[in-house]
Amino acid sequence: MAQMQFWDALRRAYDEEMARDPMVITMGEDVGVAGGTYKATFGLYDTYGEERVIDTPISEGSFMGIATGASMLGVRPVVEIMSVNFAWLAMDQLFNSAAKIRYMSGGQLKCPVVVRSPGGTAHQLAAQHSARMEKVFMGIAGLRVVTPSNPKQAYGMLKAAIRCDDPVFINEHEAMYAMQGEVPDGEYFHPLEGSEVARPGRDITLFGYNISVHWCLAAAEELSKQGIEAEVVDLFALNPLDRAGIKASVSKTHRAIIVEEAEAPVGVGSEVMAIINEECFWQLDAPPARVSAVNTPIPYAANLEKMVIPTSADVVSKVLEVLGRG
């Protein structure tokens, strides 16, 4: 196992897949000559050339469709959308074309297109560069959604997504590209469905994904000092969600909190709560709860931005409240 930064784990996945298969290409704003906004495509332009590492004009609504069209004939495009906020412009082609072509053609065609895009709040980027949009993508039939919480997942998910025959959206985080972590030395494909127990526990389950897994782990560490053993479940796949994994953990701990960076309405937390109700309501010892962002566009001022986004301390408080110790 080598220590690797998140961006470099992505770059390694690209490099291995592009070396293996000449039909793997990447396209997006500044992915080529400029080396990639977060360096995930750094160096690829020099190795694979402008025909396979394609700098696009700023036209998200259409380069998403061009990638989708190419994927119908066997190309394996990886589209990088510089910020998930810009992905709104690509949604028509992603939702109306990529996610539906296989179904509405009665299974004749497939669209193995991958879209990577970072969301989340990071250092006062303000309302139009801080969206957390996973809630929008995860509700679309025909579109797989995964969200890596560490470099190993980032590497293994990108490799699996490129090889998978379905369209896959990879939800990344602007503040996580420098994160260090262990990545297997050999080739590794991370599952695109399921969940992982990131820390076992018996008293309560904390469901996190992407950056909020780390808030959950920090909270669990703190709680353990108070004799509370929280289980942290990493929901790395958001569509489909891991019903069996959610049920298994809640059936063991009998209490659950969903921790998300996004605002609460119609989100990951809402959906996980619904699954808990459907799968294991009678196993519960307390009502499930959520730790979510305040429901606002993200403000610019540092103090206000900080108020909007949850912290591990908020998770600790919510756990104590659910356990009746608050």
Partner: protein, 333 residues
């Protein structure tokens, strides 16, 4: 143009006309559901362009008025009709309907319901053909109203910058749903709108299939030989409404009647009778043959075919048993 080709184009257009009229009738009695967009009036466009291309080999994509484009690419008419009837034997297995005819084997890459949506998909098909060193080209048929979407401008720009082998065919029927081009569009000549993207363009009378064929021959040859895009506008008209729910309040009866005098089938027939290439009797005999094929074979096939298997309801949402969903062929680390 050779008599043989003119005869084929005449018969094929007549078949398309009768097929669409059958759809109209079957929709009235609710054997066909959803929205239905019919092609009468515009037949010379699809038939004239594809007579200059390679149907079944070149990759064709279009909007929701797609039945006839599918037929021209070689999709069996009974499979198109079965699709409209929502049957398992339909060209999309009953999963698509009128607006989503697909036939991957015949390189008919689909009808799409979002106006302007196929522009980038067509450029993507062309990108794949370029990467794979294929001889085929991509052909995108859309209406004039699609040119007011952002995808038109974005895609023409990228297709030009990246030198993609794609032919954009604009069937300008003067209306975007129920709004006249004169009330919605600053430049009435659609071919002029390709110029800012350095894409060569031309226009032809979309009611005259020989004019369409001539212009399309230049267009197709340009794309096939130079492997760069081309834009062809065909000035045409639809005799029926935008869809079956169209009340027609946006245009006058006189206007429709004027255009009906420019019926592409009548125009070619008159020319061929004058040249002694066909007689009215031969033409009427064809018409009877076509009507019996539709009534005795195509419609009964659609009627008698089974509905889609309920067990297949969720089958095509995701690819089944993809090993990479579960950690790769070895089952993950």
């Amino acid at each position: 143009m050779k008599t043989e080709l003119r005869l084929k184009m005449l018969r094929d257009m007549l078949f398309a006309r009768r097929f669409e009229e059958q759809c109209y009738q079957d929709y009235q009695v609710r054997k066909i559901g959803g929205f239905l967009h019919l092609y009468p009036g515009q037949e010379a466009c699809a038939h004239g362009v594809m007579a200059a291309a390679r149907p079944g080999q070149d990759y064709v994509i279009t909007g929701y008025r797609d039945h006839v484009h599918a037929l021209v690419c070689g999709v069996p008419a009974k499979e198109v009709m079965a699709e409209l009837y929502g049957k398992a034997t339909g060209s999309s297995g009953g999963f698509g309907g009128s607006m989503h005819i697909f036939d991957a084997a015949r390189h008919f890459m689909g009808g799409y319901a979002l106006v302007g949506g196929p522009f980038p998909l067509a450029a993507g098909l062309a990108m794949a053909l370029k990467m794979q060193g294929k001889e085929e080209i991509a052909i995108c048929f859309l209406g004039d109203a699609a040119n007011n979407q952002g995808t038109f401008h974005e895609t023409l720009n990228m297709a030009s910058v990246w030198k993609l082998p794609v032919l954009f065919v604009c069937e300008n029927n003067l209306y975007g749903i129920g709004t006249s081009i004169q009330r919605s569009t600053a430049e009435l000549d659609q071919w002029k709108r390709a110029a800012p993207y350095n894409i060569p363009a031309a226009w032809a009378n979309g009611q005259d299939i020989e004019a369409v064929h001539d212009a399309a021959t230049v267009a197709v040859n340009h794309v096939r030989e130079t492997r760069t895009p081309y834009f062809l506008e065909l000035k045409t008209y639809r005799f029926r409404g935008h869809s079956m729910s169209d009340g027609g309040a946006y245009r006058t009866r006189d206007e429709v009647d004027e255009w009906r005098k420019k019926d592409p089938i009548e125009l070619l027939l008159a020319r061929m009778i004058e040249a002694g290439e066909v007689t009215q009797e031969q033409y009427e005999a064809w018409d009877e043959e076509i009507m019996s094929e539709i009534e005795d074979e195509i419609v009964p096939f659609a009627e008698e075919s089974p509905e889609p298997d309920p067990a297949d309801l969720t089958r095509y949402v995701f690819v089944e048993n993809d090993p990479y969903v579960h950690g790769g062929p070895k089952g993950g680390a």
